[in-house]
Symmetry: D2
Subunit: 430 residues, 4 copies
């Protein structure tokens, strides 16, 4: 039985305040959906069964190259982080798994498993880090890692990824996510082709170490930290990689890693169609890889991504089994609150996508009735599914209003007292 950090009585008390309104809203929505021939109970079930992983690093306050402004009670290590992740899951019931980042989260696997177990958590994909230098590291990644000009540096990066797999095996993970910052800041700094060949060769060595029941996810990103070229710059290159690396290799889509104006939901569809969609890093963005809270800037875009996922699910697309994870930087909010809200936004988009009348949609598409096809999506999107999400939470003992319950429980103040303040952030690297 999970030893949650917040008393279930506290949650219960908070839920009592919202229960009456929830029942009324739920009943009304149920009747409305019944008129649309949709069974609200089935939606609650589906939403209830849905989970999105949280990243261990997400519970710390993020920053930019200009500054990092720490928050109160920041986690000191992976065990503090797991406590915070446990709160998120306890209150939302939506985030059963945590994704670790090595070397940041390195610890005794047994201790990790025990800690996670007490919190009712499991472990999602492992994440390697060759975009910064760890203390005492022999070869620097300043000029690249898996694609570095020097064989020794590449070997070190391969070794690190294999180490991530080993740790993951010990804690029950089934996937490795590889994102690298390799690229260049000047035209001419690297030879695109040579650099990519090196990357592919190194990754093939990583794949060799992959257990048979694991998947490997490669993640593309247009730019940053490299500002002229990036080795895995877009989904086209990512798809080439997944093909080269074989049947265990898949593409990971981070919603903020694309060129301006790109139609992301279409990329998702293409990867599903060619059986290479590995999963998602959910977040939102206005300008670049802003790592803003999921659904905070363009909730309709998030819905359109889920529209593709539900479409694939319902037509039984072959090999379709994407991993879902949040990946955000929380610079001005309490990270626990942002992750709770974001998990709910992901659920919201999923619930809305489930509401789409797919029979009608297909028929409008076949008839080139663009307006009614579009309205079919919009009708689903504008339905306020909050009562469905809240009911799913309430029924599993989570909070009807997780933010309110979290604040009422005083968790942040409590850990702030226990965890010493982290000093500043960077600066000087304008």
């Amino acid at each position: 039985m999970a030893e949650y950090k917040i008393g279930s009585d506290q949650i219960g008390a908070n839920n009592d305040k919202h229960a009456k309104a929830l029942y009324a809203d739920y009943a009304a929505l149920g009747e409305h959906l019944a008129r649309r021939n949709i069974d609200i109970e089935k939606l609650v079930e589906k939403v209830s069964a849905y989970g999105v992983a949280v990243p261990s690093w997400g519970v710390g306050t993020g920053g930019t190259r200009f500054a990092r402004f720490p928050g109160a009670g920041e986690p000191r290590d992976i065990f503090d982080k797991l406590d915070d992740c446990g709160v998120i899951h306890q209150l939302t019931g939506a985030t059963p798994n945590v994704s670790l980042h090595i070397p940041w989260d390195k610890a005794d696997p047994k201790a990790l498993l025990e800690k996670a177990d007490t919190l009712g958590l499991g472990f999602d994909a492992m994440n390697s880090n060759t975009f910064s230098d760890a203390e005492g590291q022999k070869h620097s990644y300043k000029f690249g890692s898996l694609s570095h000009a020097s064989a020794a540096t590449r070997a070190q990066a391969v070794e690190h990824n294999i180490e991530c797999i080993e740790i993951g095996k010990a804690i029950g993970s089934k996937a490795l996510t590889v994102w690298i910052g390799d690229g260049s800041n000047f035209p001419g700094q690297t030879n695109f082709t040579t650099q990519f060949e090196r990357y592919l060769d190194a990754m093939k060595d990583v794949v060799k170490a992959l257990p048979a029941d694991w998947r490997i996810f490669t993640e593309h990103k247009m730019y940053e930290p490299a500002f002229y070229s990036t080795v895995v710059q877009d989904w086209g290159t990512n798809y080439m990689i997944a093909q080269e690396l074989g049947p265990q290799a898949y593409c990971l889509v981070d919603l903020g890693h694309h060129a301006p104006n790109v139609n992301i939901e279409m990329i998702v569809a293409r990867l599903i169609q060619f059986k290479k969609l590995g999963g998602f890093h959910f977040n939102d963005s206005k300008y670049g890889d802003d790592d803003l809270d999921t659904g905070s800037i363009d909730p309709f875009r998030l819905f359109l991504v889920f529209n593709e996922l539900v479409d694939a699910e319902q037509r039984g697309a072959e090999g379709f089994d994407p991993a879902h994870m949040l990946d955000q930087s929380h610079n001005v909010t309490d990270p626990i609150e942002s992750l709770m809200q974001s998990a709910m936004e992901v659920q919201r988009a999923y619930a809305q996508a489930l509401l789409v009348d797919r029979g009608a949609l297909k028929s409008f598409q076949e008839d080139n009735d663009a307006l009614m096809a579009a309205q079919t999506l919009k009708k689903a999107f504008r339905t306020d599914v909050e009562p469905i999400l809240a009911m799913a939470r309430q029924r599993k003992g989570a909070a009807i209003d997780p933010i309110a319950a979290y604040r009422a429980a005083g968790y942040r103040a409590k850990v702030a007292a226990e965890r010493p303040a982290v000093t500043g952030g960077s600066g000087g690297i304008v």
Copy 2:
């Protein structure tokens, strides 16, 4: 009494089908809003009083430089266009005014007024056209109009704008909208400063002809038809223009005329603050000036724009009185349907913005509670206000479901029989 094109009995019959569900949804929403201390009836009133103008040219099928694919029953002249606009207003109750484009809509003012009167329509801002050459025009606008190197060409463009004012005066318009395509396709083709000086001088001549109770709106656009530089390229230049032209001059914001990623709602706020917001051309875009249907791509962005408008309205911002107009290109839909739906999307964003709890919002802002401030907006946005819009329509005799009522009435087939098919579009201008 308006002589509408669709029988009120037809609308009534269609409404009968939807009335029961509407009443149920409306009652449920009313109760829900009451719990949020919002009076649904006041919202219906506000929405009911709201109108957005339609552009006369919007009822024809649009196209691209590659092709135009005509639709059935396209309007042959301004009187056909007014008939179509009448239908839009009849069914939505949301578009009381039509905006004319000269020379396309040139006609006897008296006949225009009479026709509009029978349809229950009025006239919004006049639009001049110096971005294409009219038949028989003396000087070509190939290399510019109001900013052309030749004084004679500039004078001709000024004259045309004055003519638009004259026509407008005769039909009760109170504003002139000036959008020009002037710019350049090559670095060096024009001198930016000289060209802008010419533009300002020419516009000052137009302003001289402006009646005292008129306003003049200048509209900026980043690019197209000019592809290297555009004279009125952004809101910064537009603001300079409005300052130079004096108190009757205001900036018009078209939602699709900005650089990628630009925060449009912030531009709106700035123009309100400096008393130079003239109004809007509503539409939506994914890549550029796509002229897609309002709210079809990023409905949250539209809401955020209305959030600024309602904020200004409620705090009584000085000189705040923006004009609202749709401006879209309907390439793959029945233009009447797209304009009806778009007018409703504008109303929807307005209704959602009215739901924002501004007291709470302000308080969260003062406390730097970014998450709850954001959720205050999201809560308003995700409320399904459809029953409010539908009730506003129903009460004024418009259609609960305008698209369904329109299709049931067979209007398109009827005019297709009366109006000969328009042949093709361009091509060859790749």
Copy 3:
């Protein structure tokens, strides 16, 4: 022997004026390059042997959806167009082949061959057109062509492409370029997956009709004419297509068809590495598919593309044999002048790329000497290779200064007298 439209004596007279300065500049550059261990004569040879194809449609004045402003003496048919193309090649010696567009250029193949022969021209890739409706066409492409929901429309589009191959066979072409406008303007209008499946199936039927010694080029474009989604939207999808269609299928890169900020030279490198680069449509852009003159906006980007091409050529990349073509819209210039200048800009970028000290570059890259690697490219780029290009022209009897020679010859005035003025362009499709 070619029957050129401009007297060789006229060219000779013009060259006489520029010869002395050219010899001086050439000698100085030769000495300078010798100090860099580069033999200027070898560069002249390489540049002299280089050719870029011109598009038949490029010799007409282009336009935008707002207007087209015709020029004087616009070609009336493909034979006039070939005359204009002949002038371009005569004066620059750089454009030996013409690329035809069907149905615009449909004519008796024998007559085409004879005409081209008299002008010293050959035929490049064939271009099909299913983005606009030809007169009398049975099924409209309003809602798509090769990916249309209706099998009959798809079959018609396939048939048209096969016809293009047939015509091409008769005139000595060896490639078909397929660009379609298929996509959607609304989320939901089409099912991405179904639409792409239809496209692939249709293209497979086209490929079946491809002669064994032909190649087929598919061209991607982010948007326009479709403004929400496009079937062949980026190089990732284009690469999937080339893989699906087999060994005769290659990707065509148009420099203006990418998302903002995209690193195009890197895409070129990837396609070369995976043996799927088919060729180029050269032009330049600032905002989108602006179709501006090659090298007019960002000449360094053009150089960086050629840097990849020369790199591939010199290391003997397997299967490397891209087609080179201009594809531009000339809205404000004499199309003949723009095409001449653009052909020279392509040659310039090629010559500059040939100047790169690849041994030094590789060494700097291996040493992570980013600054010197970058300077190695910049040094090549900033070398003024104009004397090399001019000498290559002069030696083959073309013009030292093609624009001056063309204007002196009075060709435009002459054809303007012969060819009746084309009336206006579109308008009304805002």
Copy 4:
């Protein structure tokens, strides 16, 4: 007499190696330019008199939010930084002034003046920092500084800016540059209007403290560190600020702070025309505020900016006196090398812009001869002015090839021995 860090004999020895080639190239270019009626000597004079300021923070290695990879011999304090800046100026003769950042460069003003004096350096604009928290600072800038909701925080930020002025007065600076990171990460987090009012009020307090012979530069930036909205987001808002703050206030243009695709040279022209151009932060960018080396990504764009500056200079634009400064982040190069190369790139663009035949250009513009107008700019741009720059350096005792001379002198190794290694950078703020 300046006590430079590198022996003049070392520079002399290096120059001897390059002198012969330089004289040959210079003579050839002189003859070529004479044929274009341009006196090369006058160009050398102009270039020789031109200087661009370097930022004190630029001599340290930069980083991203993901990591910072330190270089060898990084400066420990402002005195080390001044030594490095002295080397840059000694070798290029192009960077006579240094711009300080407070609090990073806080030191005894007298000591600063003396140190600068021994290095032949002066001080450019002062830069305040309210985008990160200094140690011991009372109020955090996490949620803003000059526009913060709390009056106390705003007052602290005002105070800091006044302190910068005070320091500047003591060391002979004549300008204050204010860039803030204030903005928001969520729609709703701040009220745009209130926030901007607060900013304006605070800045008015700063301006009150400005000496009569000083200027104040405000710098706009689209995004980062704020990712939804930024208070001074674009030149439109920046222009409003300069108007509100009065005659000493001007707009500063950083080349990397704009939306994608924006025509920056046009913004420069507008600000000159309305007498509000304060100056530049030069750098280059491909994706955003990449802070790459000036001229490394799009050298033609840099030339087009200088084309506006030379145009304004030559027509004697009223009040035209912009400040020129580099502002870059050197993540993968030796910062001294990058700053030297960048200073030379700025000079190069200036020299190229001086070559433009402005009489011919104007004439082509008046005639709407777009092609020849464009070619007039391109002809100037493609002239290799390296011999002019090198001769200007050689004549003032700087290095013909500064990078080579710098490397030969072994400066970096020397300071690396003196200055202890700086440990790592950030990380963990993904």
